[in-house]
Symmetry: C2
């Protein structure tokens, strides 16, 4: 089979030109007679890769100079522990906003290390919106406030950046990072697992304001201390060189595509088109409040769930892969990250309309 | 340039057939129309990869049924923290044997969480041997005893498995794992970073006796708790799918090559040949006690260090790459893991003899 349109929520599609480049570079990268998988992270060739990746990422997101860019392992899930261990003292209060499955997981892990105050919660309407900032019940003395910028499972994205004043704002942006420009200066820490818009699973992007470094609890394992990454260029131990290199190729690809302003235009068009098709139909529906609908993850249900399996089978046969919703919620989900071309959205909409005509 | 003989200590060479297979599988793996980098870890196709990798690894090392095989991230360095956090109580005594740079690093991290007793130490002779077991000063009540089975930098390998009785024996085998058969039943925990004999950096192999699971300290981050990996098939969070898949290809390659008995024969021949060439010369030397010489990492120095740069330049020009010793010790080091063919050793020896003739 040739390449399909891959709607996987993550690990997700990687741009075709990046895959072509990976193939080209194996087995002989840069004329060195070896692949990038087989090279020391301390070689000048790899250090150049790492430096270029950071520079490109900084350029894409306009990361201010007083922020460090780190590349630990462990994905967003390890950040659920690293954030409280680095920013709070034992028993200190921290604020979390609960908007879905991923913020719930972050809260569960943080609760082991801190006193978590749920400042706002949208479980009353099945996590289909982001609570308005006015109503948040923030603590006086929270070490930080944590949000999940985009809930991958329910497809809910923040339509605003909360104003937390002097309290550092921390955001899990795993499934929205690099999808549009972002005012990094509003955040204390931004983190993201790679496997949506950055590259293969196995590396994590952390952007941290430098004044928040060096505050880890005394018994924090070294590899869970942001300062260790900051001081070593994320090379205090052997980093995942291949994964880092692919992330660098993705950053280069995004720059070549015109940067995040251009990427955001396409992403907005893709998302609006798909939501419009869902809303125009009585066969498909998406329950998320309109201003909070994610540009990256578009869940939808069929009016007759008995047709789900048939929908998925026929979609797969039409080259539209991985449309099944998360196992915790069922239904469908189209994850349409940067690597999903607009033609993939058009193909999906065409298929959905045809399926509705045949089965509604 | 075509493929070179790559003597990198790690990330190290990967067998050519494995690289060919990786190239073949991008961009269309198993006819799915996507690469393995782009597929959910919860897909049946990837779960089959993970299960096969575990089964092949179990077969290669004859892992007994009362051991779990785990694949965390973070490399051996994260294990330096995970071992004490999972096996010891705060302030409890643990025994470590210090035979070089890597055991020193393990000790430094463990000392943050436990009372470390150095049961034996070969720093008196610049880490060129493993102290005889008779003289070890073990604690009565150590939670475990930790060794580094092969010191990658000085090229020192244990010629025996210590008998620790009821005290669990823990070994960092990053640079010796899969180089020869191993009696796993003698260990409580074996761990290894992937980037020598397993695959690309970014995944870790942990083999743990099941009775040692579930004892992590209460404030251990979830992703540092062995039990979490055991209960979830190492998928409590998104694992590095591509890296795991490559590790599986390497295991398959080793099985096809006849398993570890066959691999060990080749490795022994490669190492003996290289040490013999060094010993036969008065121009090259290796300081390690003969019975402790590593099969995987062969450090050597030139009698005139002023020729080091010339040696490295000419070696590289002859297609013999990455022979520079570790920055902490200088000199040369040939890392000759499983992926280094015997022809590479022959080429290196030929080059060394020719260089000696021209420059001695």
């Amino acid at each position: 089979m040739s390449r399909v349109y891959n709607f996987s929520a993550g690990p997700a599609a990687i741009p075709d030109p990046v895959l072509d480049r990976i193939r080209h570079d194996i087995p002989d990268w840069q004329g060195l007679g070896m692949s990038v998988m087989e090279i020391s992270h301390r070689s000048k060739e790899f250090i150049a890769v790492a430096e270029q990746a950071e520079q490109d990422l900084r350029e894409l997101l306009a990361v201010p100079d007083d922020y460090s860019v780190l590349f630990p392992q462990g994905g967003a899930t390890l950040q659920f522990a690293m954030v409280p261990l680095n920013l709070s003292a034992e028993g200190q209060t921290v604020d979390y906003v609960q908007t879905g499955s991923w913020s719930k997981k972050a809260i569960a892990e943080a609760s082991r290390f801190c006193k978590v105050n749920i400042a706002a919660d949208s479980s009353d309407e099945n996590f289909t919106y982001v609570p308005d900032e006015d109503g948040w019940r923030r603590s006086e003395d929270a070490a930080y406030l944590h949000i999940c910028g985009n809930e991958t499972i329910a497809g809910v994205e923040y339509p605003f950046i909360p104003d937390t004043g002097d309290t550092p704002l921390v955001s899990d942006m795993s499934s929205t990072i690099l999808s549009r420009p972002l005012d990094v200066s509003r955040f204390g820490i931004i983190y993201a697992g790679a496997q949506k818009n950055i590259g293969p699973a196995g590396i994590t992007l952390v952007i941290v304001r430098k004044d928040l470094l060096g505050k880890a609890r005394s018994l924090t394992p070294s590899l869970l201390d942001y300062a260790v990454y900051d001081q070593s260029g994320s090379m205090s131990n052997t980093p995942p060189v291949f994964t880092w290199y692919v992330a660098g190729l993705v950053f280069e690809y995004l720059k070549d595509a015109g940067g995040l302003v251009a990427i955001a235009e396409v992403n907005e068009r893709k998302a609006k088109k798909l939501y419009a098709a869902i809303d125009a139909s009585s066969f498909y529906s998406n329950p998320v409040r309109e201003d909070c609908r994610s540009w990256m993850n578009v869940p939808f249900v069929l009016s007759d769930a008995a047709l789900d399996a048939k929908f998925l089978d026929e979609a797969a046969a039409a080259g539209l892969a991985n449309l099944e919703g998360h196992r915790s919620v069922g239904g469908m989900r189209a994850s349409i990250y940067n690597a999903m071309p607009e033609a993939g959205i058009d193909a999906l909409i065409g298929f959905m309309q045809e399926f509705e005509r045949s089965h509604a």
